[in-house]
């Protein structure tokens, strides 16, 4: 009896005690449950749609949309297809996201640095800004910028005017639009040459520094090249640029570039809100660089500007970039709140009007979610690549 039990211990465990077999079993069961649940959902949906006579498939994308959209970056009118409304919505989403990312980064870095300022007043104002803005829901801020601020702006005929070229009223902000004439190609060409020259300059100064240790004011010279070369070309070509000034025509201003209030409100709200988070990220990133690094760089005799550029910022960026990316992702996702104030983004145009006119909720929602998923995966991918590039190389 006793002997037997010792035998069974030394032998292989019973199959149901073998961790590998248990793991396999467990995974197969889980996979089965997930597939079963997915199948039930799909089956339910299909049978529900069939029994309720809802049309399915993606054929609707080629049908005529028949409604207008106030702002479109790709050509659009009511005779175009529902598929085209998707592109209009997508480009508008990308536009406001890009504008938001740029503005939020600039404001966020400024506020983050201000937060660490030796000036007490500036530091406290930055603190108040951060604590107020990030503790108030974004949707509320969008409403505030849209409904409360818009209502206090004048009507088109009483616009706020600056020099006959800039107009602000409750229909938006109107700026002069540049119209390029013949010969402007020369300016573009000059710009290309300037960019090439800057790259050449950089590699030359690096080589020179390695050989002789002498520093060269690369940044200042680069900026000078980038500005001056196209400017010279511009005057040589006989100033081939005219300005299309906005003017009051009928109901409203026409001509020039216009920024509609929906876009402006969404942009301001998204930028200010995200900036309050970025500021904190920047602050902690700078604080994460130990003081010894600054002291070491001073001891090496590096000037202040170079210490910042070569020692502090690269190290701080390593801490800043990952949370910064997730803030950018949040900004892109939050841009979908556009639907609350009628900015024609993807959710508002495609998941709103198009879905309603066609009634094909499943297809439209699937496409919309797919878009956000793709954007998110792309940004994560870029971030991982960047992380790999900047991570500490341990040799």
């Amino acid at each position: 009896m006793k002997k037997q039990s010792i035998d069974s211990i030394s032998a292989r465990p019973k199959p149901w005690y073998d961790p590998r077999i248990r793991a396999l079993f467990f995974q197969v069961v889980t996979l089965g449950v997930v597939f079963w649940a997915g199948w039930v959902l799909i089956d339910n949906t299909l049978s529900n749609m069939q029994s309720r006579g809802i049309s399915t498939g993606f054929g609707f994308l080629d049908e005529t949309a028949g409604f207008g959209i106030i702002m479109h970056l790709v050509p659009f009118d009511a005779t175009m297809s529902y598929g085209r409304t998707f592109w209009v919505g997508l480009t508008n989403t990308l536009l406001v996201s890009a504008m938001g990312v740029v503005a939020a980064t600039i404001i966020g870095f400024l506020v983050g640095v201000a937060r660490l300022s030796s000036n007490w007043l500036v530091a406290k104002i930055a603190l108040v800004y951060i604590e107020v803005i990030r503790n108030i829901p974004l949707l509320l801020q969008i409403f505030f910028w849209y409904f409360a601020v818009l209502a206090s702006l004048p009507a088109p005929r009483q616009s706020v005017e600056v020099g006959g070229a800039f107009f602000l009223n409750n229909r938006g902000l109107y700026l002069p639009g540049p119209v390029t004439q013949d010969g402007f190609g020369l300016v573009w060409g000059a710009l290309l040459v300037a960019i090439a020259a800057v790259f050449g300059l950089r590699s030359w100064t690096k080589k020179r520094q390695k050989a002789s240790g002498q520093l060269f004011p690369t940044v200042k010279v680069s900026i000078a090249i980038l500005v001056l070369l196209p400017l010279i070309a511009f005057f040589l070509a006989g100033q081939p640029l005219e300005w299309d000034l906005p003017a009051l025509k009928g109901f409203n201003f026409g001509g020039g570039i216009s920024l509609i209030p929906e876009l402006a409100a969404l942009w301001v709200a998204l930028s200010l809100y995200t900036a309050s988070f970025i500021a904190e990220i920047v602050r902690s990133g700078i604080l994460a660089v130990s003081k010894g690094q600054t002291e070491a760089s001073k001891a090496l005799g590096l000037p202040n500007g170079l210490t910042l550029r070569l020692i502090i910022i690269p190290q701080a960026m390593r801490v800043i970039i990952p949370p910064l990316t997730s803030q950018y992702l949040n900004l892109v996702k939050n841009s979908s709140l556009a639907t609350a104030i009628g900015y024609p983004d993807l959710v508002s145009v495609f998941m709103g009007t198009t879905l309603n006119q066609t009634g094909q909720a499943v297809e439209v929602v699937a496409i919309t979610m797919g878009v956000y998923l793709t954007i998110s995966l792309l940004i994560s991918l870029l971030m991982n690549l960047y992380n790999r590039a900047v991570e500490i190389k341990e040799r």
Binding site: L140, F143, L373
Partner: protein, 361 residues
């Protein structure tokens, strides 16, 4: 005696010294201080008089708001709607009890050394939801039923955030454990679930929950709109919760796992008795932070037609009886959210400092 306590020169002492170092340390700092100070003074004055001095606080109706300042009368007259929505007046005591219990369970968490603090917290996570489930909708124990379509205002906001966080916690824990599992299929499924939910905006999730969820269910089975919104919020939130908890799991040293294995604990015992208690304690600040963002995000339900506090205010602003009260309404909502979120975030920061055992690498 007097000679030995000679004070330093006046310019190195007191407010003068403070101002010299903090406001006027260099020429550009002085300039900055002056410019910013001027802007601050010119904007604070009108703001204070708008909010307090010129504002109307009392009166009987829209006609009393004549002053230049804010019309807080609008807020006080509609306060009942902003807090309870359409909840019947005579039954609002039930909501009040819940507000009270909620405060009883969670406010002590902010106070160091409050008696039975831990038990109150546990009650808030376990007993309270059950009481709320009986009390708010009614329909049992002789309580009159109040349909969820009549819930609204601050009460609805709190319900959404509270249930959202409570329900997403266990799902988040399971997902986090799954993501750190050795089994490739389990891990893969959890990764896909988490990443998909985190990638899509809440508004699309809410919209899907509100109009598409019924299509997924078998014929005849249906949920109320509020429940559907809650399902959407919970699934979405649990993905974020999982990532927070995963952070805690990763912070637990390998030795703890190995020690638990050496003791012969099975997987679930190892997790439940050794790893999770430590990991969860570590991530309390993170959970509190996700709660804050969820609390702010609940405002999105107004887009699918639920009257949360912002929805309630937004719909009253359109009332022609009151004119130009949009800013007052928004400021009121902003203030409510700010008090909650700022208070809670302070709490989580304190906790973070306290939990910081100095072992961070």
């Amino acid at each position: 005696m007097t000679e030995s306590t000679i004070k330093p020169p006046k310019k190195n002492l007191g407010p003068v010294k403070w101002m010299r170092t903090h406001l006027f340390s260099s020429w550009y700092n002085s300039l900055l201080t002056l410019v910013v100070g001027y802007l601050l003074l010119t904007s604070v004055g009108p703001l204070v008089s708008w909010v307090f001095l010129d504002a109307t606080f009392e009166g009987s109706g829209p006609g009393d708001c004549l002053g230049e300042g804010a019309c807080w009368l609008f807020v006080s007259q509609r306060l009942n709607f902003f807090i309870y929505g359409f909840y019947p007046d005579e039954l609002q005591w039930r909501v009040d009890i819940m507000f009270g219990l909620l405060a009883l369970a969670f406010v002590p968490q902010f106070i160091e050394g409050f008696p039975a603090r831990k038990w109150l917290g546990i009650f808030g996570m376990s007993g309270l939801p059950i009481i709320g489930y009986v009390l708010i909708p009614g329909g049992i124990l002789g309580l009159e039923e109040v349909e969820s379509s009549k819930w609204g205002g601050l009460m609805l906001t709190l319900i959404l955030a509270y249930i959202g966080i409570l329900a997403s916690l266990p799902i988040g824990i399971l997902l986090a454990i799954g993501r750190r599992s050795d089994m490739p299929i389990i891990r893969g499924l959890c990764v896909v679930f988490i990443e998909v939910w985190r990638a899509v905006p809440l508004i699309t999730v809410l919209f899907m929950a509100s109009v598409m969820l019924p299509l997924f269910l078998p014929e005849g089975v249906s949920f109320e709109k509020l429940v559907r919104a809650l399902i959407g919020i919970t699934l979405w939130q649990s993905a974020y919760m999982a990532e927070v908890i995963r952070g805690g799991l990763q912070a637990i040293p390998r030795g703890q796992y190995e020690a638990a294995n050496a003791l012969g604990l099975g997987y679930w015992r190892k997790m439940g008795l050794v790893i999770l208690p430590q990991a969860l304690k570590l991530v309390i600040p993170g959970i509190v932070n996700t709660f804050i963002s969820l609390f702010k995000d609940t405002t999105l339900v107004l887009i699918i037609g639920l009257f949360d506090i912002l929805g309630a205010v937004q719909s009253t602003i359109a009332d022609p009886a009151w004119q130009n009260v949009a800013i007052e309404g928004y400021v009121f909502v902003a203030f409510c959210f700010w008090v909650f979120c700022f208070g809670i975030s302070r709490y989580s920061q304190n906790l973070e400092r306290k939990l910081d055992t100095g072992h961070k690498t």
